[in-house]
């Protein structure tokens, strides 16, 4: 059997490439009351030195379970390998006990996870964590381990590595934390690196840098990478081979060129078709809405948060989350606000919903958003918020029908019967059935939950729906369907959207007008055609260039690395950030002068 397998894997890998890891007929099952239920069945692949294998698929397809099985980290006792072998060189990992696996983990197979904050210990310095990982597998002096740790940090191109060793995880940004994770994973030069959605939680520009880094390190060290991702753009850029998974089975596998150019399976085709692509949205002309009256108007909105320090707890610094933003949203328009995390786009949404205090003026449906309760109730009828994570935004202890009816109850609209009828109607409009109303949120999938949130937002017939990263947490195919729903509801109900997102490709597909935010201010604003067709500000161009392109033949321009991190919005009291005036460069296309704004060009 072994000889046979060797022969087969040898035949599959390119002749000059040595096989590092091969998986044969792997089946993973969970024990339930009804017996063993397979989560992953009959998975086979080989991985050569220096190769990148992408396992792509939607949530629940079994891709993460596969990687946990390779690491020997399946949650005991319910989930275990029930068939097949995992060969690392000549060793069958499924036959090893936990102690033997400990030597392999970290040393020969390393893993990086999606959320770098939760995978680092918050009470240990970066240096301690790195040296501990090194010392766990190789005996060396503390001084030696420290210099190895320093080398590892240099290799992942972190600025000021000596200082980082003494810092704690919370002092680093998300991108830096993920680099520390990579440094930790690669410090022992493992044969295989498993990267489970390594860039999903990161901003596009940071994602770009982390992917570039992984590719460079792989070239230098010859590590084989298993990349687990739902993002076909990332697959196209990184992988040599692709496995597409659906509900625990391999649907398709092949070289990346082959899978993208001529997908054999319907599922692969559907997955590829759902990926939002840059350049596709520009084809459909944006409806001219200039003549329409504004639904919402923001003038010079400013949001600051106080930071206190010292013995007396005096306010010493302000966080300038939003520093003077003005725009208006016209009737029937989709206005998109894009930018990276921390740029203040969600704070604007919260200010408009009356959840955070602000200075300046916000008018929604002709009414000023103000502090008093009566005004709040009135404006809240006009503007509704749809959050990023629908599970977090729905009270888990209430039936979804009651949740959707709740806005009507709060605003004392209708009788219980008419509310019930309205709920049924709304459920059908968003593509759910009336059988769903008596269930609880946890009984639905992510996409269905977001539909419930949308139904809830529509209950009061608002003029404006603020969608704060509302599709970011969804799988691509679900995302595409929710976006279609939003588009059709716009025409049906005549609502306007404020669409907040970090994903330029999604924005290009849905927005009529776009504003790009950086450090609490708008740096470029205009129609979709203007911003995406002829971006002027270097930051806008940087954002657009950073979006992964789901085409392996695409040659990308090398992205300039930022020498420093994004500047901090925290400033001393009295030191307000300079307001950058927007200049009209023609036909409503507004841009700030970037020679003076300190943004790296």
């Amino acid at each position: 059997m072994t000889a046979l397998a060797e022969k087969r894997s040898g035949a599959m890998a390119a002749p000059e490439q040595e096989t590092v890891l091969s998986v044969e007929g792997l089946t993973i099952s969970v024990r339930t009351e009804a017996g063993l239920r397979p989560l992953v069945s009959d998975m086979s692949f080989t991985l050569g030195r220096g190769q990148t294998l992408a396992i792509a698929g939607e949530s629940g397809s079994g891709k993460s379970i596969t990687s946990l099985a390779i690491m020997g980290l399946l949650p005991p006792p319910a989930v275990r390998v029930t068939g097949g072998r995992i060969l690392l060189g000549q060793t069958d990992l499924t036959a090893l006990n936990d102690e033997a696996m400990q030597d392999i983990r970290g040393n020969r197979i390393a893993m990086i996870f999606q959320e770098p904050m939760t995978s680092l210990n918050p009470v240990m310095t970066i240096g301690r964590q790195l040296t501990e990982a090194i010392e766990a597998h190789e005996s060396m002096s503390a001084v030696e381990a420290r210099s190895r740790a320093l080398d590892a940090l240099r290799a992942v191109r972190i600025s000021e590595p000596e200082r980082r060793l003494r810092q704690y995880p919370h002092e680093l940004s998300g991108g830096m934390r993920q680099r520390v994770m990579i440094a930790m994973a690669l410090a022992l030069r493992p044969d295989v690196l498993i990267a489970d959605e390594p860039t999903t939680a990161l901003d596009v520009t940071v994602q770009r840098e982390v992917l570039d880094l992984l590719r460079d390190l792989q070239r230098d060290l010859g590590t084989a990478i298993i990349l687990i991702t739902h993002d076909m753009g990332v697959v196209a850029e990184m992988a040599d081979h692709v496995i597409v998974m659906q509900s625990g089975r391999m649907v398709e596998q092949g070289s990346v060129e082959q899978v993208f150019a001529a997908p054999a399976e319907d599922y692969t085709r559907a997955l590829l078709a759902a990926v939002p692509r840059m350049g596709r949205g520009a084809a459909t002309p944006a409806a001219p809405r200039a003549s329409q009256p504004p639904v919402a108007r923001l003038s010079d909105v400013e949001v600051t948060f106080d930071l206190r320090s010292g013995l007396l707890g005096r306010v010493t610094h302000h966080v300038h989350a939003v520093a003077g933003v003005s725009f208006d949203i016209r009737k029937g328009e989709t206005f998109a606000l894009v930018g990276e995390s921390g740029c203040g786009k969600s704070t604007i949404a919260r200010a408009m919903a009356g959840l955070v205090p602000f200075r300046g003026g916000i008018e929604i449906g002709g009414k000023r958003v103000d502090g008093t309760r009566a005004d709040l109730l009135a404006t809240r009828r006009e503007a509704q918020l749809v959050f990023q994570d629908p599970m977090a935004a729905l009270d888990p202890r209430m039936r979804v029908g009651d949740l959707v009816a709740e806005p009507l109850v709060i605003h004392r609209i209708g009788t219980p019967e008419s509310r019930r009828a309205k709920v049924f109607d709304l459920f059908e409009r968003v593509g759910l059935t009336r059988e769903h109303v008596d269930r609880y949120p946890h009984e639905f999938s992510g996409g269905q939950r977001q539909r419930i949130c949308i139904a809830r937002a529509l209950a009061l017939d608002p003029k404006l729906i603020i969608a704060d990263e509302s599709v970011s947490a969804l799988d691509v195919s679900v995302q595409a369907r929710v976006l279609d729903l939003l588009k059709s509801l716009k025409d049906e109900f005549g609502v306007s959207y404020l669409f907040i997102s970090h994903d330029m490709a999604v924005v290009e597909n849905i927005a009529d007008r776009v504003a790009v935010m950086y450090l609490g201010q708008i740096v470029e604003m205009g129609s979709r055609a203007q911003v995406f067709g002829s971006p002027i500000h270097p930051y806008t161009r940087r954002l657009i260039d950073a979006v992964p392109v789901p085409d392996p033949r695409h040659q990308r321009k090398p992205l300039e690395r930022l020498a420093t991190e994004v500047p901090s919005p925290v400033r001393r009291v009295g030191d307000s950030p300079a307001r950058l005036p927007l200049r009209n460069v023609g036909d409503g296309h507004l841009v700030v002068d970037w020679q003076q704004d300190g943004i790296p060009t």
């Binding site: 109730l377 709060i410 809830r456």
Partner: protein, 293 residues
């Protein structure tokens, strides 16, 4: 649209689901047994709880061990232990349910108000809670009991005043983290008022914690009552309570172990029964657990 159109997918009722759990049923049965015993005590026993019986002692004047005429034996004064335990159940149940319930209510109001509103209201309430926590509970109980004329209800009140603190602390922490959750922000964005958020969206999430503290509290309150009785400021002898039966007899533990053993078992069984029922209630009332067992 009428009710006839409503889809019939509601699952079985809470009681039906509770009845499925055998341990919970056992707990419920034991509680009913205790309550029944307490109510019917005069009819179940031949002797009154305070009756000192001549043949309840040996010739040397020692208490009788269990068996024979006196099912659970007699105590030092020749009183029937079974009768004392059954009558004592009345006191202990009132203390366990009333005092503990009162403590839970005070603790919930203080903890949730402080945790939800924060600000100066929260600071004042929680500093007061800390003060109460730092103050020795027994000393406070003694002071209070000295001011008021000791009676069953005063004892219950004193115990409630001493015991609400832990509940308030725990619920405060839980409420602060709940109030930060996104669905609370979503409710506020819809225009929901404070009362609506508190009663519909915060309190239901606290039910598991309240149940756990409530059932745990029963045994501590019964024991605290015993301590107070021992110090002479609780339920006044000769009225029996489980606690004061133990304390009256603990010095003779080696010679007459049954005098401590039986009331001890009674406290244990009652506390355990409430715990079992509470555990099951917590699971049954949680809709996110539905269909998982």
């Amino acid at each position: 649209m009428t009710d006839a159109n409503f889809p019939e997918i509601r699952q079985r009722g809470t009681l039906a689901r509770l009845a499925q759990r055998k341990l919970a049923l056992l707990g419920l049965f034991l509680i009913v047994l205790t309550v029944g015993g307490a109510i019917l005590a005069p009819y179940l026993t031949k002797y009154g709880p305070e009756e000192q019986l001549f043949d309840g002692l040996t010739i040397e004047g020692a208490p009788l061990p269990p068996g024979g005429e006196f099912l659970l034996g007699t105590d030092l004064l020749g009183r029937d232990l079974l009768s004392r335990i059954l009558h004592g159940a009345r006191t202990s149940l009132i203390i366990g349910v009333v005092a503990n319930g009162l403590a839970l209510i005070i603790g919930t109001v203080v903890g949730v108000t402080a945790g939800y509103f924060r600000g100066w209201i929260g600071s004042v309430l929680m500093r007061f809670t800390d003060l109460m926590m730092a103050f020795p509970a027994l000393l406070l109980a003694i002071c209070l009991a000295a001011i008021f004329q000791p009676s069953l209800w005063i004892v219950a009140m004193v115990i409630a005043i001493v015991n609400w603190v832990q509940t308030a602390r725990v619920l405060y922490t839980e409420t602060t983290s709940l109030a930060e959750r996104e669905f609370i922000a979503a409710e506020r964005a819809l225009g929901a008022g404070h009362m609506r958020i508190l009663f519909l969206h915060i309190l239901p999430h606290l039910v598991p914690t309240i149940i756990v503290w409530g059932t745990l509290g029963i045994s501590t309150t019964v024991l605290l009552e015993a301590t107070l009785s021992y110090l002479g400021i609780g339920v006044q002898p000769p009225t029996p309570s489980w606690g004061n039966i133990i304390f009256e007899n603990q010095t003779y533990f080696q010679a007459a172990p049954w005098l401590v053993f039986f009331p001890g078992v009674a406290i244990l069984v009652l506390a355990l029964s409430f715990n079992l029922v509470g555990d099951a209630l917590r699971d049954v009332l949680d809709p996110t657990q539905r269909g998982r067992d």
